[in-house]
Symmetry: C2
Subunit: 349 residues, 2 copies
């Protein structure tokens, strides 16, 4: 089979690899139907994160089950499945609390499972899925082909945008601002509207992303950043700020901008992976009753809730894919996202 590997900064290769087989009775083997490149994949691509040794890459995929171990009960051969970006057992206390990304057996694609066995990355032909019952979500039947991109977003970005909105308690009538116009930020706009937000400000200075934000239900676009952007958001919301600000970037500047947009008593829902560890200014938070909630999205826990809306075409988060390439062109997929020529790239094995 073919698999995407990262060797180091700007060195992505698609190579031959061994086909996975069942190794444990709780495994499934999945043939990938579609995968994609994540904004966080760009970190090692750009050299911001080191790549000490070449390894398989990719953590978002959907596919068809080819084999299941004898202890697997919730997915069967032939099922179309969504794989969230993390492996979890579904039974530990954290999974039962809905925080599947704190699972005691938590592991990542392209690394090792909790038994110490190799797992494949998502950007390849096939993947061995450890703890298949806890990790995978099977569809009730085979999806229409045009739904595949939206189903694929449930592996990460749509669930992550939803986590931002849900953590920030977005509900009917909420006023919202979204910081970040990547795929997660755009999905956060969609998620906020889905939860009933009345007004959603998308902060973006890129025409294509502004257009998609508006299509996803944004009511206002703010192009300014930093304090100027925050001042504009506060002005839009009667001088007091937004009930909920969805932080989908992860830098110190974006977190500060988010706090500055939030009304006293409001929430920052944050899902941007903290880059360089921006510490939070508790003095400002305390004085203004600014609340901060979020973290690594427990995508697995959200898929069942969001899946119905995708299958019934009430939401189409797959619109974030503005480029589709064959798996063999994975290097170009990375280059396009790195140069912001594409919002998010879908790969077909």
């Amino acid at each position: 089979m073919r698999a995407t590997m990262i060797y180091g900064p700007r060195d992505i290769r698609v190579e031959d690899a061994d086909e996975p087989t069942l190794a444990l009775p709780t495994d499934a083997v999945v043939r990938v139907v579609a995968a994609c490149v994540c904004g966080s994949d760009l970190w090692p691509y750009r050299g911001v994160q080191p790549t000490p040794a070449p390894h398989p890459i990719g953590h978002e995929f959907v596919g068809l089950v080819e084999a299941v171990g004898e202890e697997v009960g919730t997915v069967k051969v032939g099922d179309f499945v969504i794989a969230p970006f993390a492996i979890s057992d579904g039974t530990c206390p954290h999974c039962r609390n809905g925080i599947t990304t704190s699972c005691t057996e938590l592991r990542w694609w392209g690394s090792q499972d909790s038994a110490g066995l190799v797992t494949q990355g998502g950007q390849g032909d096939m993947v061995r899925v450890p703890l298949a019952d806890g990790t995978l979500v099977a569809l009730p039947g085979q999806p229409a082909a045009d739904l595949v991109p939206s189903l694929l977003t449930l592996s990460d970005v749509m669930c992550t945008g939803h986590h931002a909105a849900s953590s920030a308690r977005v509900g009917p009538g909420s006023t919202v601002a979204v910081v970040g116009d990547g795929a997660v930020g755009l999905c956060a706009v969609l998620a906020a509207r889905r939860l009933g937000a009345e007004r959603v400000v998308a902060m973006s200075r890129h025409q294509a992303r502004q257009d998609l934000a508006l299509e996803f239900g944004a009511t206002d676009i703010v192009t300014e950043r930093g304090e100027a952007g925050a001042a504009r958001v506060r002005q839009i919301f009667g001088g007091v700020g937004a009930d909920a600000v969805l932080e989908c970037v992860g830098t110190k500047e974006s977190m500060q901008q988010s706090l500055d947009c939030t009304r006293p008593g409001g929430f920052v829902g944050y899902v941007g992976v903290p880059a360089g560890g921006p510490e939070l200014p508790i003095g400002q938070m305390f004085s203004n009753n600014l609340n901060v909630a979020g973290g690594v999205a427990p995508a697995r826990a959200y898929i069942p809730e969001l899946l119905g809306d995708v299958l019934e075409r009430r939401i189409a988060p797959g619109r974030v894919f503005d480029l589709e390439l064959p798996l063999e062109e994975a290097p170009e997929a990375y280059a396009a996202m790195d140069a912001r020529r594409a919002i998010k790239v879908l790969l077909r094995p």
Copy 2:
């Protein structure tokens, strides 16, 4: 009249002062029935906060209305009133959002009101109350004398403890840990149980405070601090930590202890005034979905909800007062709290 003044570190004096009169049509004048010393009053007392010039002190009092301005509609002469620790108008967007401590007219006792006029401190015979409709809460009648201490806690510490519990989403069945065994921490224990918490760990190494925590409904006492204390709390809660941790101290160490006690997906409800600005470790928060909510308690907004439980004797937060002194002995009240000889001291003019 007599009023308590702070001149500098460990220099508290009770002095003659002018009696206040109505200055604005939105004013009331209140004769103080009971006041008290706050943990935060100890900051200037200890010299941690500077006292550039002598000024009246005290921000917690209950009393009887002696006069009202012609625009005051919700309190009348003779009413028994509770004054929260901050002045607010009750009509601005922040007050309508329930965050009265972000009121656009927010001012503090013993300083100046938003019209630039002097206000008295709470530790004195009489106080002019600006924005009386927004600030004061009148009781339906005259309270029994033994209820006065509990009513007095509604000016600050009981509402602040409730804010910690409410911000941390404590509800029926919650598991809770409380960091801090001062009056606020003890009230947080009471507030958590009032909201339905199933198990509440009080972290304290002082016998009298442990006893009161147990009386307020704590189910467990942990005497260890720091990582050892957090490890003990996690052990008590099945190795995963508490749903809600109520941070009632405000130091970097106490916030870290609180985060370390919290289960993934749980909340730190924080009301400890940040001392020295402990920044929050967003990397730890992100990885574990630790949420942080709270701030300066909007006491005014909570008084109506809590008042009924005090009047109907379902809660007795006044038990935090373990020393009662005449107003003239205010210096001894400060000394007793500073030396931790008393949890909280009630002053009677």
